[in-house]
């Protein structure tokens, strides 16, 4: 008997049909991967299983019994737990209280029995072999650790089915093995896991079977062992993508920008690098190793403690991100939602937002028609969908948001473009387009710095790679021929 059966489930939001006739079976004690481009309907399906959304049609059976959840709590009581992509923990409460929220252990009078709660939380951590103090405040933990606490929360009350929505997206490379170890031990205890991720390598490492969704429809389920990443990609996009990454730089010019002695208190120390015309420089390393921190310090988004910069041989100062933009340096944040896009504004406004100075006509009034034209230009070159400049960016999918964010940067015509995790949470089609565009920009004479946690992306895109380890640059690797290997980077990122 399958632990979970999904029979012909459909769901629409208004006119928009997001799921039609989805079928999926999850066996007891298996890791079942769910994959599909952004907008394929994975998140909606997960929310229906978890009782957050109501389905329009179809059936859901748990251990062969039809269920109909009215709220997440009911689903939880039936043993379904979701580890959401965004963290759902409260920083001001302890680890144990977070884990037992809504399932508190109470004494006879109905009050929380804090000792028991802490004790049981400790047992849960023991079960998945994690070393966390249950009385620690969640806010004091690292993001990666919080993600593992989320997993602990999911299994704390005899979960039979655990759904993980991109659990690795905020983990560093060396935290992922911890997570996988936890997943395997859960599987061995007979728990079923639905694992959602964009990263094929992860799926092949951890899953037993893979189900692919495309445009809200069920494409198929395959045994992981009998499949290949080519096959999965074909199922996802319906066509063969071929080489995922564009060619490396055709020619590299003179030094355009130089950075010396860049430090950010407690985060990064003494970072030095040069970048040449037409070059893509990749910054690699574990999350928290100082890549993002150093670049934020470069544009002074976080106040740096030291650092000197030269642009085309001339020393410049960078007071703040606006100043950086005016000097041709643009930093694109890794978090497009909270510090990148204006989600309540149209594509037009977002694209023009950083270059309003150039969008003026007589009397300093904004030239709206120029703004529209510019936006339409970017919509075309970046293949933004829907191709309507009036749409609010909040209504776009992740991939299209990322394209708009990049357009906003390109609109300022930067000489040095710094992109932080440019393809995080982005579907494969958008990803390959963003990669192509970044290479084109470099070929047109700009310098590009790419920060990424994805090794293949770093190796596939960069002409040169800086590896960060604990706040320092630990290695500089030449990669003009794509010769650097993941092992090499990992070695530099983790060992002396």
């Amino acid at each position: 008997m399958d632990a979970l059966q999904i029979r012909n489930v459909s769901k629409s939001f208004g006119e928009n049909k997001v799921l039609s006739d989805i079928n999926m079976d999850v066996r007891k004690g298996e890791v079942h991967a769910l994959i599909g481009e952004n907008g394929a309907g994975k998140s909606t399906l997960v929310k229906i299983i978890g009782g957050i959304y109501a389905r329009d049609a179809g059936e859901i059976l748990i251990d062969g019994e039809a269920v109909d959840f009215k709220d997440p709590l009911q689903a939880m009581r039936m043993g379904i737990s979701i580890v959401h992509q965004e963290l759902s923990l409260v920083p001001n409460a302890t680890v144990a209280e977070n884990i037992y929220l809504r399932r508190e252990i109470t004494n006879k009078a109905g009050f929380n029995d804090w000792n028991k709660i802490n004790q049981q939380a400790a047992e849960v951590f023991q079960r998945i072999n994690l070393d966390v103090d249950p009385t620690e405040l969640v806010g004091m933990l690292s993001v990666g650790m919080q993600q593992l606490v989320e997993v602990a929360k999911a299994i704390a009350l005899n979960a039979r089915i655990v759904i993980m929505d991109e659990p690795t997206s905020s983990l560093s490379e060396n935290e992922i093995p911890d997570l996988f170890r936890v997943i395997r031990s859960l599987r061995d205890q007979g728990i079923s896991i639905i694992f959602i991720s964009h990263k094929l390598t992860e799926l092949f490492e951890i899953s037993d079977r893979i189900t692919v969704l495309r445009d809200g429809e069920y494409v198929g389920t395959v045994d992981t062992a009998a499949s290949s990443s080519d096959e999965i990609i074909r199922m996802m996009v319906g066509r063969h993508l071929g080489d995922l990454f564009p060619q490396h730089a055709s020619q590299i010019g003179d030094v355009v920008f130089e950075c010396r002695g860049l430090s950010l208190f407690g985060r990064a120390k003494d970072v030095n690098f040069k970048i040449r015309r037409g070059e893509i420089l990749g910054l690699s390393g574990l999350v928290g190793a100082g890549r993002t921190e150093a670049m934020r310090a470069l544009v002074n988004a976080d106040k740096r403690s030291s650092g000197q910069f030269w642009m085309n041989g001339e020393e410049i100062t960078i007071e703040n991100p606006q100043d950086a933009i005016s000097k041709g340096i643009y930093y694109v944040s890794e978090d497009r939602k909270s510090s990148g896009l204006f989600l309540n504004s149209s594509i037009t406004w977002n694209v023009a937002m950083a270059s309003l100075d150039r969008m003026k006509k007589a009397l300093g009034m904004l030239d709206q028609s120029k703004m529209r034209q510019t936006a339409e230009g970017f919509i075309k070159t970046m293949d933004v969908r829907p191709a309507d400049q009036r749409v609010n960016t909040g209504n776009l999918s992740g991939g299209n948001q990322q394209k708009v964010l990049l357009s906003m940067a390109l609109c300022t015509e930067p000489r040095l473009l710094i992109v932080d995790e440019p393809t995080r949470g982005v579907d494969i089609g958008a990803k390959s387009l963003i990669h192509k565009r970044l290479r084109e920009i470099a070929e047109q004479g700009a310098c590009v710095i790419v920060i990424s946690s994805e090794m293949p992306e770093i190796i596939g895109m960069s002409d040169r790679i800086l590896v960060f380890r604990t706040g320092h640059v630990s290695a500089e690797l030449d990669n003009l021929r794509g010769s650097v290997t993941q092992e090499e980077i990992m070695q530099k990122a983790t060992h002396n």
């Binding site: 759902s88 009050f111 929380n112 929360k153």
Partner: protein, 347 residues
């Protein structure tokens, strides 16, 4: 035990409580030395009674603010309860018990309306409860023509003027409410949900917290406490008047914030609020005792509110700084590689 204390100190809430207590004592000692009557029984009683009704409202406000909301309507619910209970008893001739019961039911209804509007319209609670405050104030004026109602029975007056073991009844009620509700907030799973709602409503919802239901209960609690305060005030003053408790909502909010709660929600406790209200009372008393131009009193209150917020932000920063310093030391040592579960915090 020691480690938990250390941890709590790190979060700043205990530090703020200790600091506030010290400031309150310092002001008290200074006033005693300067004027010599601070500790007199008469002054103590007057000081305790001065902000007692705001204090009762502040307990409810603590719940609302921890849940990420705010309730400005309490300052209108307060005289509303006075007026209704007066009308029921003096004009309609009802006995105390049913009059009080009906009044409190109406107050609960106001809390329910507040919460329902906030839940359904999804507008910031400040706007909704301000609308409710202005509406209720208008109603209070309209149903009384701006005049006060007086002539309560002695039995009713006892609720506000009577004593229990020598302590004024409103103070007894305040202490009772602070202890029971404070304990519930600290230990009851239902009220613990507030911290999750205030800390992250979305996350709370995903974890199965019935956000709307909890908010409704909390706004009703806030209105109920304001109503009880109003009834006791009518008994204390022997009159019901629309002007009573004007601006009390701001004092209640200030007490909660000075007591160390995050005005954005997610943290705070009743004990802090009690300290906050004690602070406001002591400062006001100091102003009256020293005869300084009381125009400055409001300025000092406002300033303290800002300082309290600054202080909690400072503690927050200091903690982040401490974490960073530890890392900088590692950086300076240029040392090895951090353990897998080292706190790699992102600011």
């Amino acid at each position: 035990m020691l480690t938990t204390l250390k941890k709590k100190l790190k979060t700043g809430s205990v530090l703020q409580a200790v600091g506030l207590t010290v400031i309150i004592l310092l002001i008290g000692i200074t006033m005693q030395v300067m004027n010599g009557n601070f500790l007199s029984a008469a002054n103590m009683e007057v000081m305790a009674m001065n902000l007692i009704f705001e204090g009762i409202m502040a307990i409810g406000m603590t719940f609302v603010i921890i849940g990420g909301g705010i309730d400005l309507s309490v300052s209108a619910v307060f005289p509303f309860a006075e007026i209704i209970v007066a009308k029921l008893m003096i004009e309609a001739g009802l006995p105390i018990f049913p009059a009080v019961l009906i009044t409190l039911a109406l107050c609960l209804g106001i809390g329910l309306i507040n919460a329902t509007l906030i839940n359904v319209l999804r507008v910031h609670p400040m706007v909704i409860t301000m609308g409710m405050m202005l509406t209720l104030r208008g109603i209070n004026l309209a149903i009384t023509n701006g005049k006060s109602i007086a002539g309560f029975s002695d039995d009713f007056l006892f609720l506000g003027q009577g004593t229990f073991f020598g302590i004024n009844l409103p103070i007894v009620f305040f202490l009772f409410a602070a202890i029971t509700l404070g304990y519930l907030l600290k230990n009851h799973p239902y009220f613990r949900q507030l911290y999750f709602i205030g800390g992250g409503e979305r996350a709370a919802r995903l974890s199965g917290v019935k956000v709307e239901q909890v908010k409704t209960v909390v706004y009703m609690l806030s209105a109920l406490l304001a109503g009880i305060a109003g009834i006791m005030a009518a008994a204390q003053y022997g009159a019901a008047h629309w002007s009573h408790g004007n601006l009390s909502e701001l004092k209640a909010i200030a007490a909660v914030a000075i007591g160390g709660a995050d005005v954005n929600g997610g943290s705070g406790n009743v004990f802090g609020t009690v300290l906050g209200i004690a602070f406001l009372a002591v400062v006001h008393n100091a102003f009256v005792s020293s005869g300084i131009n009381t125009f400055w009193y409001d300025a000092v209150n406002g300033l303290m509110l800002l300082i309290a917020i600054l202080f909690s932000k400072y503690i927050e920063r200091k903690n982040a700084r401490a974490v960073l310093s530890a890392k900088q030391m590692k950086l300076d040592e240029s040392g090895g590689y951090p353990k897998a579960n080292m706190a790699e915090q992102r600011a």
